[in-house]
């Protein structure tokens, strides 16, 4: 073949088509575009409860291949075609093309858009994008009494432990001294500098999150999935702000129990709802196990809102006590498919508390899409944090 065209043969004689794959290049570009698209629609894309695999730090999101759109006729109720083989007029048989559309290998092929890809995303990246995307304010850690002490590096001294010798700094001292006329050219004890440590007080950057889930008979599987989805992304968001995050999971019906995270979302109970039992359990754990001053405490409660009427006063008291100790109390009302605008026993409980100025928020979750508005609402409502020591 003649090499008149410079695309034909490369300098070392290798055939030009062996040098790169254009198909792979365009495929990579497609992949990039899919990731961009997923990123743009992230809240919807990752809201699906089944995406969340406990413990793993990645999320798999099923995506469709992008379609390059062209003008096309609307699908007809019936199509005509020409075939070949032993068939008589009037013969009727099953359409092998259904439900998968076959044929159509024309431009823009009819059969495209069926292959599903599974893209894997790092949860940390997603949280990072979400915070950018949703413009959520960063949480303000509680300061004041909730401080912790820490040794930090601060200044230099001529005496100190050998392990804290700062060689670079010492060498600088040597250079400075040698600049003076008649100085000793080697290191002397005068040159040595040691790093000093000082005890500094830092605001607490540890957080403690309580998740309480109503598992009474009225909570459906889907309701639990919704709550799970919400809890999961809340944890991810908080984890972004705090170096150390402790989580406690409490489920309740008329009684309350503490669970581990994996067990928590499997729990299903029967019977009525007595919120105060759960709230008391949370307070109990909080006071027994944790030092209130070194934690920012968050409390999130998911329920369908049907608390026993007889429990109203007890629940109110328990919640008020908890709200006093926590940075923020959030309530999500999960009612798959119907939105009741929080007009329920528990909903009113939180609304009343909000009117007296406590740091609480409520949100109704009817669908997975609502998870994001709920998170947005909570993380913006959380501003401003009460004054130090308040």
């Amino acid at each position: 073949m003649t090499g008149t065209n410079d695309t034909q043969i490369s300098a070392d004689g290798a055939k030009w088509y062996e040098l790169f794959s254009r198909g792979a290049r365009d495929w990579l570009r497609h992949d990039e575009k899919v990731r961009e698209a997923v990123r743009r629609h992230l809240p919807q894309a990752v809201a699906g409860g089944e995406l969340i695999s406990g413990g793993a730090r990645t999320v798999r999101i099923p995506v469709r291949m992008l379609e390059h759109y062209r003008f096309r006729l609307r699908p007809a109720a019936q199509r005509q075609g020409a075939g070949q083989g032993q068939a008589k007029p009037g013969d009727v048989f099953d359409d092998p093309a259904r439900p998968r559309t076959a044929g159509g290998k024309g431009p823009g092929g009819e059969d495209e858009g069926e292959v599903q890809l599974l893209l894997e995303f790092k949860i940390d990246d997603i949280v990072e994008w979400l915070w950018e995307e949703m413009r959520l304010p960063n949480l303000t850690p509680r300061s004041g009494p909730s401080e912790e002490q820490e040794w930090t590096r601060q200044g230099w001294d001529r005496r100190g432990a050998r392990s804290r010798l700062d060689r670079r700094r010492s060498f600088k001292e040597l250079v400075k001294r040698r600049a003076a006329p008649g100085a000793v050219p080697t290191f002397t004890d005068e040159d040595l500098r040691y790093r000093q440590l000082a005890l500094r007080r830092r605001p607490a950057v540890r957080a403690l999150v309580f998740f309480m889930l109503d598992v009474s008979g009225s909570m459906s599987e889907r309701d639990r999935q919704l709550a799970k989805s919400f809890f999961f992304w809340t944890v991810q968001g908080l984890r972004r702000e705090y170096r150390a995050l402790e989580t406690v999971f409490v489920a309740h019906t008329t009684q309350a129990w503490e669970f581990t995270e994996p067990e928590f979302f499997q729990v299903s109970g029967t019977g009525g709802t007595v919120a105060s039992s759960g709230l008391r359990k949370v307070s109990e754990i909080l006071h027994e196990r944790f030092d209130l001053h070194s934690y920012n405490v968050y409390f999130f409660y998911a329920s369908d809102g049907d608390n026993a009427v007889t429990d109203a006063d007890a629940a109110r008291a328990a919640l008020a006590a908890l709200a006093g100790a926590a940075c923020f109390c959030g309530y999500v009302e999960v009612a798959a498919g119907l939105s009741r605008h929080l007009d329920t026993e528990t909903g009113r409980l939180f609304a009343d508390l909000a009117t007296v100025g406590a740091s609480v928020g409520s949100c109704a979750l009817a669908d997975f899409d609502d998870v994001w508005s709920a998170i947005r609402q909570f993380f913006t409502a959380q501003h401003p944090v009460r004054a130090p020591g308040g």
Partner: protein, 450 residues
């Protein structure tokens, strides 16, 4: 013996049998490259993510063993033929003969001639040049911006008018001057009746509307009349359009062209006494696989194999009317004329062709009707396989008004896809874009972007 050793003798035999073709450069290439050529349609072509999607589908198909490509041939002078490196000797002998059939067809068919006359006989090099030019645009303006242009241009790929030249002039700027009236006795008396009608009004030139008639060459229209189109964007539109001009005859003569090549590879093979016996047997087996009407494990095919259909029609033509008549048909017809004129009732019966209607997952075989069968075969080929969309006018504010000719196509557009295409177009036209079509009940409706 390698397959190359037979090439010259097969060419000689083909010329002796009456084939007239430009020289063809044969080259064996790796399967991966064959696959890319099948995806892009040209050996080097502009980058776009949509080719990546097709590439993956092709890859999947290949892994499932569904498709195997023996050759790809690009017409021109000289023509380029790429043969899969995995072909055996027998397959390559067959493919060489097949390629010469294509080369003869593309040199002599009038539709090919006209389109090649437009895009030149060096489309392979032109496409590589376009690819390089677009790469330069990417370096200069960034991938995102170039991609927006390609999204729009490639979406309109099929919307060209091959009856117009590739280098088509803009519309006349002014309307034709009114005809000068005959200066006869009546005219003079009439003018005398109304002395006040001045001729000043008649002299004034009137601007012609844009477009002066509904325009179906959307790529050309956008390139020429896009209100704020930059010159590099126009170049991309025109590059895509030029490649479409190359693809059109390939698309519109597929049945004839593949049939002609299959007819000739079978015939040349029969006459090639220099081929070893074993290679001949293998090649004939390969031939029968290629022109098989129905997949091996099935009784009935719901789509026709163009190789088989074209092959059968050409055999009948040569047997009934002689080679000379066949050569005339090869020169003058496209698939529409070829199928309508030469797929006879007897041949359709012999090939067991039938018409069917698919509805709710059931297939019903319809009564025999040769004319309706022709149309069923040809229906997907009208208008480059795309719905008929026309530019109606450009409003004073620059809004581009398109119309879908639903009467021709029989039903309305897919609205969701239509909107997406308008969105692509809007980003390049930079003024609103509107399109009228009909809904499922035949009521007129309009979609638009933004």
């Amino acid at each position: 013996m390698e397959w190359q050793d037979y090439t010259a003798r097969i060419e000689q035999l083909a010329r002796k049998s009456g084939l007239r073709f430009h020289p063809v450069e044969f080259e064996a290439v790796p399967d991966a490259f064959m696959m890319e050529v099948a995806v892009y349609g040209l050996p080097v072509r502009m980058p776009h993510w949509s080719f990546g999607v097709r590439y993956i589908y092709q890859l999947i198909q290949r892994h499932m063993g569904h498709s195997r490509l023996f050759e790809v041939v690009f017409p021109g002078n000289p023509g380029h033929a790429y043969l899969a490196a995995s072909n055996g000797l027998a397959e390559n002998v067959l493919v060489t003969a097949h390629v010469l059939g294509h080369a003869d067809f593309s040199r002599n068919n009038l539709l090919f001639q006209r389109c090649q006359g437009q895009v030149s006989e060096r489309i392979v090099e032109h496409a590589a040049q376009h690819a390089r030019q677009i790469q330069q645009a990417i370096d200069l303006h960034g991938l995102e911006r170039v991609e927006l242009v390609l999204d729009a241009a490639l979406a309109l790929e099929q919307h060209i008018d091959v009856d117009q030249p590739v280098r088509r002039a803009r519309y006349r700027e002014y309307a034709e001057p009114p005809k000068t009236l005959a200066d006869d006795a009546f005219r003079r008396r009439f003018a005398a009746l109304e002395p006040l009608t001045t001729e000043a009004g008649a002299r004034q030139r009137r601007r012609a509307p844009v477009p002066p008639h509904p325009e179906r060459d959307l790529l050309w229209f956008v390139a020429q009349y896009g209100p704020e189109l930059e010159s590099w964007e126009r170049d991309i539109f025109l590059a895509v359009r030029e490649e479409s001009f190359y693809f059109y005859p390939v698309f519109a003569t597929q049945i004839m062209n593949e049939g002609w090549a299959s007819y000739w590879h079978a015939r040349l093979l029969r006459e090639a006494d220099f081929i070893p016996q074993q290679a001949y047997v293998d090649a004939i087996k390969c031939h029968s696989d290629v022109v098989r009407p129905v997949a091996a494990d099935q009784q009935i095919a719901l789509a026709l194999n163009p190789y088989h259909l074209g092959f059968a029609i050409w055999e009948r033509i040569v047997a009934a009317e002689g080679l000379e008549a066949a050569c005339t048909i090869r020169a003058e017809d496209d698939d529409f004329a070829f199928v309508r004129n030469h797929l006879t009732r007897e041949l359709a019966a012999e090939l067991e062709l039938f018409r069917y209607r698919a509805r709710d997952g059931r297939i019903k075989v319809l009564a025999q009707d040769i004319d309706a069968l022709h149309e069923a075969i040809l229906a997907p080929k009208y208008n480059f396989g795309a719905p008929t969309v026309l530019v109606e006018n450009v409003r004073v504010d620059g809004t581009l008004q398109l119309r879908h000719d639903h009467a021709v196509d029989g039903r309305g557009l897919d609205l969701e896809r239509g909107r997406k295409v308008l969105e692509y177009l809007y980003r390049i036209w930079r003024r609103p874009v509107r399109l009228s079509t009909v809904d499922a009940d035949g009521r007129t409706l309009e979609i638009s972007a933004p």
